[in-house]
């Protein structure tokens, strides 16, 4: 059975680009355009991995992640952050505390995205 990935980003073009890349690799992809949308969708969907943009209007990726971790039903979901700026050492420590597996910096190479996703989904 294909693994399911939820991609959360407010940029529609990026959502479609990532959907294309991941579907071509055989993954099922759900796309969501906001942090609030992600949390709503998680009431009915249980993805194997979430690709979560850090900077979105409304809730930031960090806030969405904290909500996911504080909900017993979603707290163990695997999350990869997608970000424009590189995390500092302080940020990397914060990622560990939030149990975020990895992060991808925009713009990214398709091969790098696939490699990181596959690594998390084993």
């Amino acid at each position: 059975m294909a693994k399911n990935i939820m991609v959360v980003d407010d940029e529609e073009n990026l959502l479609e680009l990532v959907r294309g890349i991941l579907e071509a690799e055989g993954f099922d992809v759900i796309t969501v355009e906001s942090g609030e949308g992600c949390l709503n969708k998680l009431k009915t969907a249980k993805p194997d991995l979430i690709l979560l943009d850090m900077m979105m209007p409304g809730m930031s990726g960090r806030e969405v992640c904290e909500k996911i971790r504080s909900n017993p039903l979603t707290k163990d979901l695997k999350i990869i952050f997608v970000t424009v700026a590189k995390f500092s050492e302080t940020g990397k420590d914060a990622l560990k505390k939030m149990n975020v597996m990895d992060y991808i910096t925009k713009p990214f190479e398709n091969a790098d995205l696939i490699r990181r996703v596959k690594k998390q989904l084993g």
Binding site: M54, M55, M56, P57, G58, M59, S60, R62, E63, T83, V84, A85, K86, F87, S88, E89, T90, G91, A94, L95
Partner: protein, 192 residues
């Protein structure tokens, strides 16, 4: 606890520093920041909290060498049209984030500024949603890091709600080398 923070040390070793200040120590600490940035560095100073003329007088009265400063004033034009001077450009409004970003980029390139002092990020929260400011700073930071610039982001604590302040700092702290919180003696006495 406040005594343990050495602002000069932090300024010297950080490339992206968030500095949270109490209102009553704001001017002195701004002067300390300005004085502590390496003498070989040209500084782009973004005036969002006070107009350029006020900032200039404040710093001058504290013996800061202003020859290495280039100012971007986003406030004064609000009170009438201003013509750029040799060391200052006036923007149309503090609400126009694209204009601010483009002015800083231009200063970095054309005026060869090495460091940017953002005084203050909290002012922007008067006009914009926290998430917009976080996003703006995040993209701006990424751009300035590419250019190897140093960024000092000042936040006046009393001017925004503690919730907004916490939200802003938590998001930006992920990308900062350090966040330092400088409390006034009055505030520390109150806390005891």
């Amino acid at each position: 606890m406040n005594k343990q923070i050495n602002l000069i040390d932090e300024i010297e070793k950080s490339r992206f520093l968030i500095i949270m200040l109490d209102e009553d120590i704001y001017i002195d600490k701004i002067a300390e920041i300005a004085k502590s940035i390496g003498k070989d560095k040209k500084i782009c100073y973004l005036c969002l909290s006070k107009p350029y003329t006020d900032v200039y007088s404040d710093l001058k009265s504290r013996d800061i060498d202003l020859d290495r400063f280039y100012f971007i004033d986003a406030l004064s034009s609000h009170y009438g049209e201003k013509k750029p001077t040799e060391n200052c450009i006036f923007l149309s409004s503090p609400t126009n984030l694209s204009e601010i970003r483009s002015a800083i980029s231009k200063a970095a390139k054309e005026k060869r500024c090495d460091a940017v002092v953002f005084d203050t990020i909290s002012t922007l929260l008067i006009y914009q949603e926290t998430s917009n400011i976080v996003r703006f700073t995040h993209e701006f930071l990424s751009e300035e890091r590419e250019r190897n610039k140093i960024l000092y982001l000042v936040l006046k604590q009393e001017s925004i709600s503690p919730e907004e302040s916490e939200r802003l700092v938590k998001d930006l702290n992920m990308f900062a080398d350090k966040t330092i919180n400088l409390k006034s003696k009055k505030h520390l006495r109150r806390a005891r």
